[in-house]
Amino acid sequence: SPTGDSWGIFTFLCAALCNLPALPALNCSEELGAGQSIQQTYDLTRYLEHQLRTLAGTYLNYLGPPFNEPDFNPPRLARAERVPSATVDLDLWRGLTDNARLAANYRAYSRLLCYLRVLDRQVGTAELRHRLAHFCASLQGLVLSIGGVMSSLGYPLPAGPAAPPVPPGAPTAPNDFLKKMDDFWLLKELQTWLWRSAKDFNRLKKKVPPAVVTLRLEARGF
């Protein structure tokens, strides 16, 4: 009967409209997904930054003065350069390709995570260990999230760190004070990376979704 046909057409149209993003090519939803996961990664960096504030406060108090003083502004020692720095020349940062931008973030957080895990093994109080463990888990999530964005955009993941930064059990610094300085700089670099990432992902948010859709369609000869 005509009624059945009309309803059938109507149902089909509804279904088509609701699932349109998935129709043209399976990869289309991936690209739109990339836009969404950039947003999620951005949100994660903000969440981690917030978490770090509490963690750093507790940890610096554990280290004791002068590390927990707000005006503490020590010179950068050569040994601290092992921790990846977020500092970058302004024009260079602006000119980074999406791949380079994402890779820099991925590499930095992978290494920072390693260092934090080493810290976790050595730390004294149970409360601190608990906080650190929680933070490491969230940071791991961030690394995976960045990796996910890179994969969905077709970029290769950067190779992991060549060797673990510190063999477990070996002394990390000649004395206690220098060890504490290392910890101080690690937290500082982590904080700086988190607010740099917010800006990195802002830039990516604006640039990625439309450009990528066009590229992918071209590749498939559409």
Binding site: N73, L90, R196
Partner: protein, 362 residues
């Protein structure tokens, strides 16, 4: 025959030369700076203590009670005693010594402020003295970033301000700014140490406009623009804070907006004039800007009905409105008298829906 013009010229010329000579000698005389409340002793050049001299202050003779021999003694000097002091030999009235006395204070700790309203381009620092010194001061500013000395370029206007460009972004090392103020009576300084992201504070949003929304008595449409000093809103987006209240109330209502440069207020009190302001902040770092210039707006109100009745009487041609508006004298509350174009439209749409259904199901 005496010609008055040349002699008048001579007099004027002589006067000019005299004034010039006086001024020159004043400029050549040394400036002496003294603190407020100090005791000042002035010697009459190389004259002996027991020589007969006359001191003047700004041309006026000074009473002998202030003299100790040929020395001038000023006790507990105050600001009003600044001026030109000169000493003349008693009888010959030869000028033996003169000085310009400036009474002032050594500088108190200066007030220094640094801010980045154009992130990520750089930042500026501005300063002032909390109390005046009444004598000339020089300001010297130094900026240290880690081990590097940076140059803070002084602005022409305003004078007590300098700006610096960031060479690197996302720095872990703090900036240390030291301002030193020096004058003839002393010096003082102050230091500021801060992280790059801590001093970010945009200028307030610009071109704030608030407009009523036609046919919506509780709405106001507000729009604004990013501050023009913010160089890169795409990579460094701003978020906004809007506050509004009717003029008659003191309590503000607040809305935080994470993107977009417009907002529609939907809970305005009908007919009341509103005051509206907007502030901006970098999405992730720094502090809120100052509030923007306040704008005033009143929501749209319907024209009162009794005015249209009067218009009906005076109108010669009947406009379409008169056929829809019920004059107050007729039975508005009559169940049957549903007035207005709205009711007519309802009937028509109902008819269309029924027709559509019938087509589908028959």
């Amino acid at each position: 025959m005496a010609n008055p013009v040349p002699s008048a010229c001579c007099v004027v010329l002589a006067a000019v030369v005299m004034v010039y000579a006086q001024r020159q000698s004043q400029q050549d005389s040394p400036v002496q700076y003294e603190r407020v409340g100090a005791d000042v002793t002035m010697k009459c050049g190389s004259m002996d203590w027991d020589a007969a001299v006359t001191w003047t202050a700004n041309g006026t003779d000074i009473d002998e009670s202030h003299l100790n021999g040929s020395y001038l003694i000023l006790k507990n000097v105050d600001l009003s005693q600044s001026g030109q002091y000169a000493c003349y030999e008693g009888s010959s009235w030869h000028l033996k010594y003169q000085t310009s006395l400036r009474v002032g204070t050594p500088p108190k700790e200066p007030v220094l402020m640094c801010r980045s309203n154009n992130y990520p381009k750089g930042f500026y620092c501005s300063w002032h003295l909390p109390t005046p010194t009444y004598i000339p001061n020089t300001f010297n500013i130094s900026v240290i970033h880690g081990t590097k000395d940076m140059v803070c370029e002084k602005d022409a206007i305003p004078k007590n301000r300098c700006h610096i460009r960031y060479l690197q972004l996302f720095s872990t090392v703090k900036y240390k700014v030291t301002l030193t103020v020096t004058n003839a009576l002393g010096k003082n300084f102050t230091t500021l140490t801060f992280d790059e992201f801590a001093i970010v504070k945009p200028d307030p949003p610009e071109s704030v406009v608030a407009k009523p929304v036609p046919n919506n008595p509780r709405r106001l449409e507000v729009s604004w623009q990013n501050p023009s000093s913010w160089p890169d809103p795409d990579s460094f987006p701003l978020k906004f804070f809007l506050r509004y209240r009717p003029l008659i109330l003191d309590q503000w209502q607040h809305v935080e907006l994470s993107d977009g440069t417009s907002h529609t207020i939907t809970d305005a009190y009908a007919g009341k004039e509103y005051i509206i302001q907007v502030a901006a902040k970098d999405n992730d770092i720094g502090t809120w800007s100052d509030w923007s210039v306040a704008v005033h707006a009143t929501p749209w109100t319907e024209e009162p009905k009794h005015l249209t009745t009067e218009a009906q009487i005076t109108e010669t041609t009947s406009a379409s409105t008169s056929s829809f508006m019920a004059p107050p004298t007729t039975k508005i509350c009559d169940k049957g008298a549903v007035v207005g174009s709205g009711a007519v439209a309802v009937c028509w749409t109902a008819g269309l829906v029924v027709a559509a259904y019938s087509v589908l199901f028959i």
